[in-house]
Symmetry: C2
Subunit: 553 residues, 2 copies
């Protein structure tokens, strides 16, 4: 009787339900590795939440198997859960990534007081063994330097994971995707390809990062006063081009915004961002320099209200206030959900009267993710037997699957999965495995909690209708109702207009109830809530949340 073979389990814990919180576990026998540990930022559906993490219980439950964590690149949707994972793990697990990625992570871990992590610097061409996993790294191009793809072999078969990528033939740092490696791995055999789906609905080929340089340089060259360029602080390629354009026309660069200052510092120390120290100056040095010799490189491309750009536009920035003579370049695209805030900052800048350039009018931004032709090229080069589109919303994963089918791949060789679905590979053949616990956890202050729909419903209700507290006292002995106090927050009516009548309404109801036999605090609470709710609806046609408190005294 043939012995049951050990499968390679592919366990996506995040990244399949939206752009963000990427995390996949790979498990073979008693060995497990984790690729990426990202977070997602909350939106209106999760009011008041700081961060969203994938539920990584599965990793913790199998901690004894965990041989290492691989981070493909330094964006927060690939690194942001790492502090939480590391704090939850009992032992120190090695983290494998490129120098820049580790540099960025080091700063984040320090904020969480996680010191001396086990960093393992890897790069294009590095080979490592982690338990049963034989792993090769290869360079990829993306909107941050040091992006790596991963090729892993196990006795059950092999997987290629692209990380996030575009196929840029003219990257700013000269580090092109390693096509030779990808094709060599294809020759060795790629049983499963996991490939970035972010732009799977976009036809064509994403423009090279170097396409934006000339536009930025042209604007800076022709600007009369200062030029303020807002971009993503991790987009070192972009920052390099802004610096190059500035120095080429004889301007000095000033950096402002916390993460911009931090990331440019790390990138310069590690040699990823190259600018003559004389050409990059501090805010306080600006006064001696004419406006037409200054470029301000800043955060705030998403219209965040506390960012450097917003503060400069509103006159709240310590060094700069934007005036009609300035030129502003928004060298980024709005992340979905931020469109309105970005439009808001553009309107504020328009009112100031300065010139504003963004993606909609000038080529000052290109995507970091490959479009359909690049995704097809990747499939054509890697020649996988099986395919799993990753990193995207439902629509992107399915569009990517469709591309693979158009290229002749059988539908039953393509796995469009949800987080927590697993694949199992045996002898290089892939099928569905049993699902694992998955989902999201929320970080709010110190607490890390499971999704609690009640809290969000309450918060949305509070935000839309406000809250009214009604406190009453009832004498234990006489059952006489004493004070009734009403206080409101976030309601649209004036409290003074209703207070007396509302108090009297509640008091009368309560007095009727309290005199009845068998009345207790619980029944009195209910009737004070009901009578006040009804009163407010009739009077104001609003339904604020009512918190009734009844004290027996």
């Amino acid at each position: 009787m043939a012995k049951k073979q050990t499968p390679l389990r592919i366990i996506p814990l995040g990244g399949l339900d939206g752009i963000g919180k990427n995390m996949t576990a790979f498990e073979y026998g008693s060995d497990m590795i984790l690729v990426d540990a990202g977070l997602m930022f909350p939106d209106d559906e999760q009011p008041g939440i700081d961060l969203i993490l994938p539920d990584y219980s599965y990793v913790l439950e199998n901690e004894e198997k965990l041989r290492g964590i691989i981070i493909t690149h330094g964006h927060e949707d690939h690194t942001g859960a790492l502090p939480y994972v590391l704090m939850d793990l009992a032992k120190k697990v090695p983290i494998y990534s490129s120098k820049l990625t580790l540099g960025i992570i080091e700063g984040k871990l320090a904020e969480h007081k996680i010191n001396s992590p086990k960093f393992r610097d890897v790069s294009n061409g590095t080979h490592i063994n982690l338990g049963a996993f034989s792993i090769d790294f290869f360079s990829m191009t993306h909107s941050i330097p040091g992006a790596l793809g991963v090729y892993m072999r196990t006795p059950a078969g092999s997987v290629m994971h692209t990380g996030d990528f575009k196929l840029d033939q003219t990257p700013i740092d000269g580090v092109t995707p390693n096509y030779q490696a990808i094709n060599r791995f294809a020759t060795l055999g790629v049983d499963l390809l996991m490939s970035d789906s972010t732009n799977a609905t976009r036809p064509g080929f994403t423009k090279s990062e170097s396409a934006v340089g000339p536009a930025i340089r042209h604007i800076i060259k022709n600007a009369k006063g200062r030029v303020i360029v807002a971009s993503f602080s991790s987009h070192i390629h972009r920052l390099q081009q802004i610096c190059d354009a500035s120095t080429a026309v004889g301007r000095k660069v000033v950096v402002t915004g916390r993460s911009m200052v931090q990331n440019t510092k790390i990138a310069r120390e590690l040699g990823y961002l190259k600018i003559d120290p004389d050409d990059i100056i501090d805010g306080f040095e600006v006064e001696d320099i004419p406006d037409d010799k200054i470029v301000v490189m800043c955060t705030g491309s998403q219209g965040e209200p506390m960012s450097a750009l917003s503060r400069m536009a509103n006159g709240d920035h310590k060094s700069f206030t934007i005036t009609a003579d300035d030129t502003v370049i928004i060298s980024a695209n709005p992340i979905p959900g931020n469109e309105k805030s970005v439009q808001g900052i553009i309107n504020s800048l328009s009112k100031i009267g300065c010139a504003v350039y963004d993606k909609s009018t000038t080529l000052v931004h290109v995507s970091g993710h490959g479009s359909q032709e690049e995704l097809k090229l990747m499939l054509a080069m890697a020649k996988p037997r099986f395919f799993m589109p990753v990193h995207g919303e439902a629509v992107h994963l399915r569009a990517h699957a469709k591309l693979a089918q158009e290229m002749g791949m059988r539908a039953d060789h393509i796995f469009v999965a949800d987080n927590g679905d697993t694949l199992e590979m045996v002898n290089g053949k892939v099928g569905w495995g049993r699902p694992v616990e998955s989902g999201v956890v929320y970080v709010d202050g110190l607490s890390i909690t499971d999704a609690n729909p009640v809290v969000f419903r309450d918060r949305q209700k509070l935000a839309s209708d406000g809250i009214v507290t009604v406190v009453s006292t009832v004498s234990k002995r006489s059952r006489a109702v004493g004070n009734v106090e009403i206080s409101c927050r976030g309601v649209s009516f004036s409290v003074d207009d209703i207070a007396n009548e509302a108090q009297e309404t509640v008091r009368q109801t309560l007095q009727r109830m309290a005199s009845k036999e068998g009345s207790n605090v619980e029944s009195l609470r209910k009737s004070s809530r009901n009578s006040l709710s009804n009163y407010l609806w009739n009077k104001t046609r609003t339904r604020p949340m009512v918190i009734p408190v009844v004290m027996e005294v």
Copy 2:
């Protein structure tokens, strides 16, 4: 000594700080007319608000002058404030608009129990006199039929107001912009042009509405199962094209969604929407018809959770549930702020597995507003002496002003205004006038209130941090602190985890305070709030709103 001449005052009360709530008063001596009375829908910055209206106090204060209200077309950003204005006016003022616009308004007024309004049906070529105002209407093309431009003459000079427009040479109903009228008015003289700025940042010429017909027909023709088309319910041109495409390939049309049912009914009755009664069927008739003979025309193009499309996608619709065999066309663009909800519905549909077409992949939507070339054409035809860009955000108004300057208009002949700024015209010469009261009012339930930043701040605070109520009793005689009750809503920690310790913390603080001489309810309230806030911050690193109530018993 020359007598001071009576000026024509141009008083924009809305429409200059965003797309929405358009409203302009024109005042000459003892006569006033109002052009448009629109609303704006709230966003995240105004949680829980139903509607936003322009502050029209100026109109009410000068009611005795008001000779009539002109509505340029039937969109809510031009009509939606009308019920409120009419309710606030003491006398019945005539409303001038096209038949379709009046039909749509009639339904809205009926919802507000405003009956037998003074409707005056006007159309292309109509001339009316309202006090000192001599007014001509001319047809324009827009994403709703019956759109009118207005040319008005007064002894002080003349104004042309475009309403919202594009210049469509192949409109669906054959009603092109009346270029002859515009040029005739130009010959008579246009002292001030007020022109739609919505698309002033878009280069080129907006595609004709008739460009979307072939794409929609192609999709419907090739669909295997049902086709569901979501669009704006007021976009009768679009609905006509959907109906035409459906009947051309032998499919019946079913209409679902409250406003879609209502608007198609009005438009058919008034002859704006033409479809054979046999070809439009009720939901209950669908069962007898094969899927490939059905087109469902529905609301929900903005991803609204309660709309027909969302309900069909979630299995909550009474007649239809979308399946993998269906085809969905989103024949609309996301209104700014709705991008994420629209993407959400596209993801839901992708998960179902049906084919989804939207603007990003197929020509199933074009804008109803003219792009830069059309705006320049309008300026070139109207040949105004002075120009005021209207209907747009700051960035659009300024872009429109820039276009006019590029065409050779003097900068000091262009007026980029804020709501409440006024212009004064004397002898056809325009200058700034004194500002009037302006702003926004909010409709929330029954109350119509001025902007109250405290309410919004409270609501946002409640949504992000939740609320904790702490109620304590203190004996009037002994000053002993009795019960302390704590209740929480929308907080991220578990109440059970903190209740005992928090109660004890507050009780101790209160007891210390209460025993002091001079302590009163107010000081006790403050100290119970402070002690609880501090406790929660130390324990949970969150800062919920704390409502302290202290009852002396």
